[in-house]
């Protein structure tokens, strides 16, 4: 675990849904609440659109963390999209564990259109967690195995 540099600024990709969480992010912005700038926000119409391939692609492309913010249970504009998003996230977490990607790097939470504060809390939380975990280094290249002992 790399915990050295205080100057490490994690790169985080956030998938926010149009009707709830993205609106919640706007609310935080309008209220001028300060929040970390590490998250690149991608707006989707519904959290149910978030294909697990997007999450893996984000990690493979250099993201140190991924955030998925959905509507609260019962509030999805498309009725059940957020349940699918949650269920997919839970299965994906189990897969990531087997790939040795720390659990805190993928975060799922509920943020409604009025919850500017909760949005700030979700962002701050993942940035702090990933900062302490360090950068995610994807093993690349093709090396001859050297015996270690």
């Amino acid at each position: 675990m790399n915990n050295g540099m205080n100057s490490f600024e994690p790169k985080i990709v956030g998938f926010l849904c149009n009707w709830c969480s993205y609106a919640g992010a706007d609310k935080a912005g309008v209220a001028q609440t300060p929040y970390p700038s590490n998250v690149n926000i991608i707006k989707v119409m519904c959290s149910g659109r978030v294909d697990p391939q997007f999450v893996l692609k984000a990690f493979a492309s250099g993201a140190d963390g991924v955030l998925i913010l959905a509507c609260h249970p019962g509030d999805c504009h498309y009725k059940e999209g957020n349940y699918k998003a949650l269920q997919r996230y839970k299965i994906l977490s189990r897969l990531l564990k087997q790939f040795d990607i720390a659990e805190q790097r993928l975060r799922f939470d509920y943020v409604s259109a009025g919850e500017g504060e909760k949005f700030v809390e979700a962002i701050t939380s993942i940035v702090d967690n990933v900062k302490s975990l360090g950068p995610l280094s994807i093993k690349g290249g093709n090396n001859i195995w050297e015996q270690q002992h």
């Binding site: 294909d51 893996l56 493979a60 349940y83 839970k90």
Partner: protein, 329 residues
């Protein structure tokens, strides 16, 4: 007599099943022999690497290359056969997507060597010897091909013209490709998957498909499935929903859920992620009105806890060609 075009079948890190599938062409092997000169196939013929090296470049019409790339010998043969072949086809799941050998990418090579040669209940190895690239003996240095720290697909080290998926590719599909070449029909765009469909196994499966809503997963030994209904609907984890068609849906026909051997469907980058997406859409956790977030999470956990090994099941054949390719650290 005009010389027949040469073809070769080579095996890298593989099990030999692809060669068996070729032999399972049965009488059609006579048509293959009538139209081609099977020049090089270490499993079945006695021609040697030096015979290949002696050929002019691109002298072999098609090389069917099966097996994944795990050591320097595999890589060297891949480069040699690429040079000497007009068409290099990744034949079978190992060379296309990594297949079973690829699952070793879930562990470091140190851990693998440890488990195989050292901390192993049935292995007596008091001197703690593990294979090395070079060993010094009184006569000099003995070498075996060096091993890479992870398994790779054929396309990770050379340009591949076509992919024939399957573990192994089904004989009728192998014949489809060979027949296509014999009849000199035009091949699709370079880099395409051939000898397979463009959809999923569900398209070829004869079971009745209804509304998918799963309350509980079962392991294959726990229930006897109904013969007519979709296996996934009955709680067996059938990978068919996230697997390319082309095999004929053979496994579900005999009550065996598909395990995914034909690899990623058309347009999909990552088979395991797509299976996670599919299962995530069809879990039935009942009515959640009034439940707390923790209670909802628990209901989901209770269902998915039945799955013992997510990566092993969802990426059984396609780990090497997936987006993350295995363990990242």
């Amino acid at each position: 007599m005009a010389e027949l075009p040469k073809i070769s079948i080579y095996w890298a890190s593989s099990c030999g099943g692809c060669e068996i599938s070729v032999v399972n062409l049965n009488e059609k092997i006579l048509d293959v022999a009538a139209n081609f000169n099977l020049f090089f196939c270490p499993c079945l013929l006695d021609t040697k690497k030096t015979d290949i090296e002696a050929l002019p470049d691109k002298d072999i019409l098609i090389t069917f290359f099966n097996g994944s790339i795990k050591n320097e010998d595999n890589a060297e043969m891949a480069h040699l056969l690429r040079k000497k072949s007009q068409l290099l086809i990744a034949f079978g799941s190992c060379s296309s997507e990594g297949c079973i050998p690829g699952l070793s990418n879930l562990h470091s090579l140190d851990d693998q060597m440890n488990a195989i040669y050292l901390d192993n209940l049935t292995t007596i190895n008091p001197d703690r010897i593990i294979p090395r690239h070079e060993t010094i003996v009184p006569e000099g240095a003995l070498t075996i091909p060096a091993i890479y720290d992870r398994v790779r697909t054929l396309s990770e080290i050379v340009e591949v013209d076509y992919y024939i998926p399957g573990c192994p590719p089904e004989p009728h599909q192998i014949w489809n490709v060979i027949d296509h070449v014999i009849k000199q029909r035009p091949l699709p765009e370079r880099g395409s998957v051939i000898g397979a469909g463009r959809s999923t196994v569900c398209d070829e499966c004869s079971r009745k498909k209804g509304n998918k809503s799963i309350k509980k997963f079962y392991r294959t030994y726990e229930i006897v499935p109904e013969p007519e209904t979709c296996l996934l609907e009955q709680g067996l984890i059938c990978m068919g929903i996230a697997t390319r068609d082309g095999c004929g849906g053979l496994c579900p026909k005999v009550n065996m859920p598909c395990t995914g051997c034909y690899g990623t469907p058309e347009g999909v980058l990552d088979q395991g992620a797509k299976m996670a997406a599919a299962l995530g859409s069809i879990l039935d956790i009942g009515d959640v009105k009034g439940l707390t977030d923790d209670e909802i999470n628990k209901r989901i956990d209770d269902i998915i806890n039945e799955i013992p090994d997510f990566a092993g099941m969802f990426y059984k054949y396609s780990l090497c060609s997936s987006i993350l390719k295995g363990k990242v650290i």
